[in-house]
């Protein structure tokens, strides 16, 4: 037994953090809000340069040949920075889905940062990072296709987190976006293997959980800094027990969710019998912890936080977006209930 990351895994995350500190400070996240693409482009290139984009791509295809456990802390860092990039979709989901398929020849471009892939595998039609991505992985219900964004009708829709823009996929070529009516040609097909698709979806859920932990931690420490500096009644508000206890509860939620995420990464990588359940548990608790921290952070900031002029809202809104992405709490909880053998009685009559 050893419940800890390796020095290499920590060092990789440290390298990613240094890049994010440099290229993804809050003004860079704000640029994404304002649809100024330059900072995100620069960050994307740099993350390709240090190998993160191709981390899960096999070495034979120009990647690092690592696994989700190796980059889990990197994903946490990307959440902490609220990086406005399709890291879950491209680095994790696309890299996993494409490897070993007819589409594997595209992996070298993915690792180099030249293939920007969005993905929707949850049956919704909301394409994240619309605009930045030129490819979309779409689940037709029995197969996943990699479609060129320019051949799809993707209509931009207003979002709460404007740094993570969404487009509504309404048509593919001449066809409406009805499952089963998509192009079934080998040209676009990635996989119709439910196990492979399930594993990729699991990886996306896990990666999102890791980002939520990073977001939660950032909001927590942002708030700690604020309540130590903000004075009312002549003292820092962080000396009031009501504030301390709220933040202690927020810390508790993060610290108890974190090991579930790390354990789920291990279960996912080793493809254990319980991996689906464990990844669901990780996303549920990471989402709940980040949600609690978000509320506590906003409350402790008082009126200062209730404005777009202050940076906190960038993290709040990413939290809310990710809570609703890559696994809904209700579905995940039902999944855990099934795995525990808890069947719901159907009311008579």
């Amino acid at each position: 037994m050893r419940f800890a990351f390796t020095d290499d895994q920590r060092a990789f995350a440290g390298g990613v953090r240094a890049v994010l500190d440099d290229l993804c400070p809050p003004p860079a996240v704000r640029s994404a809000w304002n649809e100024e693409p330059a900072p995100a482009e620069a960050l994307w290139r740099q993350l390709a340069g240090i190998g993160l984009l191709g981390a899960l791509v096999p070495e034979s295809d120009g990647g690092l040949g690592l696994d989700e456990l190796d980059i889990l802390l990197c994903l946490e860092e990307s959440g902490r920075a609220a990086a406005a990039l399709p890291l879950v979709e491209t680095v994790v989901v696309a890299a996993r889905l494409l490897a070993g398929t007819e589409q594997a020849s595209r992996l070298a471009a993915l690792a180099a940062g030249e293939l920007r892939v969005s993905a929707i595998l949850d049956g919704s039609f909301l394409v994240p990072w619309a605009g930045f991505c030129d490819w979309v992985l779409v689940d037709s219900g029995n197969a996943v296709y990699l479609l060129p964004a320019q051949e799809c009708v993707i209509e931009r829709v207003p979002t709460v987190d404007r740094a993570r823009p969404l487009g509504r996929l309404s048509a593919v070529g001449q066809l409406s976006a009805v499952p089963g009516a998509w192009p079934t040609g080998q040209e676009y097909l990635v996989s119709d293997d439910p196990r492979r698709i399930g594993r990729a979806r699991q990886a996306g859920t896990l990666a999102t959980a890791a980002q939520l932990i990073g977001l939660a931690e950032r909001m927590l420490w942002m708030t700690v800094g604020y309540v130590k500096a903000r004075e009312q009644f002549g003292v820092p508000i962080g000396s009031f027990q009501a504030v301390k206890h709220a933040l202690a509860d927020a810390l508790l939620a993060v610290e108890l969710a974190r090991p579930l995420v790390y354990a789920a990464a291990w279960a996912h990588v080793h493809d254990t019998d319980d991996a689906d359940r464990d990844v669901a548990a990780a996303k549920i608790r990471a989402g709940e912890a980040a949600g609690l921290v978000a509320r506590t952070a906003l409350q402790c900031h008082g009126g200062m936080g209730y404005t777009q002029e202050y940076d906190l809202h960038l993290w709040l809104k990413r939290t809310w977006a990710l809570q609703a992405s890559w696994g809904q709490p209700g579905e995940l909880r039902a999944q855990v209930a099934r795995s525990l053998g808890l069947s719901i009685a159907v009311p008579a009559g």
Binding site: F3, K228, G238, E255, L260, A265, A281, L340
Partner: protein, 384 residues
């Protein structure tokens, strides 16, 4: 990261499981917090000792197996999974013993530990006083120097001493020097004493807990003489010595995840046997409980790794205590709801419920734990 146990650990688990299966009483013993039940539990403890299972993590010379923390977790998991009796010796073996290993003299260890492991001497705590609960450093029981006799005279009252009415010995803090500046130095001038409860001048009065069992005791000391050989650690340094003990009470040693895994399994059985089955709300609450239990198990694995690798900070134990104590209440509250009208009956779940409600109070109330977490882990300003 490696979340599998070694073959050696698996073998240890099998050995523990086989012994427990063969030896755990088929019918539950009466409550160990009653006089009769306590006596039966002591016999069980002696059986455990004879088979080498009473203090698995201790050195062999004192009756242990030198199990590491991982094996200790395995043993706890198997112990509670088997439905084995409550550990009425726990205050000695989990609270005092770690302090003796760290601060005791060789003579003290050799004299005290083997009899503790064998459940010959039974230890209770003497920390809280009527006027000093969460504010433990405000205690007023006194230790007065008796140079001629080579020891100390203890005076005062201790209370909420768990199973004190049935124990033979106690350990706790007494004020040995008046602080010069009561606001700043009250943690100094306390000394940690080990006292046999049959020492002249000692009176013990048992009283009922919330559930009616005589699980608590007041301990009265009137000029009780304690020789220097029964001072644990340095004179006037008792606060530091005691904090090592409360650290282990709040932390890992008293509440292994195995307890909550076992409680959850019983809860799941209760849910499955519920007439009319489960509705979505109850099923979802069970899911929440499972998530809490699983999170605690994983958190503990992370903590044990940190302890083994020497990177664990002490204040983390406050988070530990906050989590398991609230979790235990939630598990039992759900059990009451699953029981329906039966929740009015005195039985294992309703007893367990009342006991769970003590968790957020003892070992430093959860309000104190939140203060500690906020101040030491988040670095927020002290307010007391």
């Amino acid at each position: 990261m490696d979340l599998t146990y070694s073959a050696q650990d698996d073998a240890f688990r099998q050995e523990a499981r086989a012994w427990l299966r063969a030896n755990v009483p088929a019918a539950p013993l009466p409550s160990g917090d009653t006089r009769r039940g306590f006596a039966e539990h002591v016999l069980w403890e002696r059986l455990l000792f004879q088979a080498g299972w009473s203090v698995v993590s201790w050195p062999k010379e004192y009756g242990g197996r030198e199990a590491d923390l991982w094996q200790w977790l395995i043993f706890e998991e198997e112990y509670y999974r088997a439905g084995a009796p409550q550990r009425v010796t726990q205050n000695g073996i989990f609270l005092l013993a770690p302090t003796l290993f760290r601060f005791g003299t060789q003579e003290q260890r050799d004299r005290i530990l083997p009899r503790m492991a064998a459940a010959e001497d039974l230890w209770c705590q003497a920390w809280s006083e009527p006027g000093a609960g969460s504010d433990l450093a405000g205690l007023t029981s006194r230790a007065t120097r008796d140079d001629a006799a080579g020891g100390w005279l203890l005076n005062g009252q201790k209370t909420w001493s768990t199973r004190g009415a049935f124990c033979t010995h106690t350990f706790g803090l007494f004020r040995s020097a008046v602080p010069t500046d009561p606001e700043r130095s009250r943690h100094r001038g306390l000394t940690y004493f080990l006292v046999p409860l049959d020492a002249p001048g000692t009176t013990v009065r048992g009283f009922s807990r919330l559930d009616g069992d005589e699980g608590f005791a007041d301990l009265y000391f009137r000029d009780v003489f304690v020789p220097d050989s029964d001072v644990l650690g340095e004179v006037h340094d008792g606060w530091r010595v005691a904090m090592a003990t409360t650290g282990s009470e709040r932390g890992l040693t008293l509440r292994s995840p195995g307890r909550f895994r076992a409680t959850f399994e019983r809860l799941r059985e209760l849910a499955r046997s519920r007439p009319g089955g489960l509705d979505e709300r109850l099923a979802d609450r069970l899911v929440s409980c499972w998530l809490d239990v699983e999170a605690y198990a994983r958190y503990t694995e992370q903590t044990v790794t940190r302890i083994v690798e020497g990177t664990e900070g002490g204040a983390q134990s406050s988070l530990n205590k906050l989590h398991w104590s609230d979790l235990d209440v939630r598990l039992h509250e759900l059990a009451l709801e699953l029981l329906g009208p039966q929740a009015q009956l005195d039985g294992p779940w309703t007893r367990g419920h009342q006991f769970s409600l003590a968790g957020p109070i003892y070992a430093g109330t959860n309000e104190i734990q939140r203060d500690i977490a906020a101040e030491r882990l988040l670095g927020l300003p002290r307010s007391r």
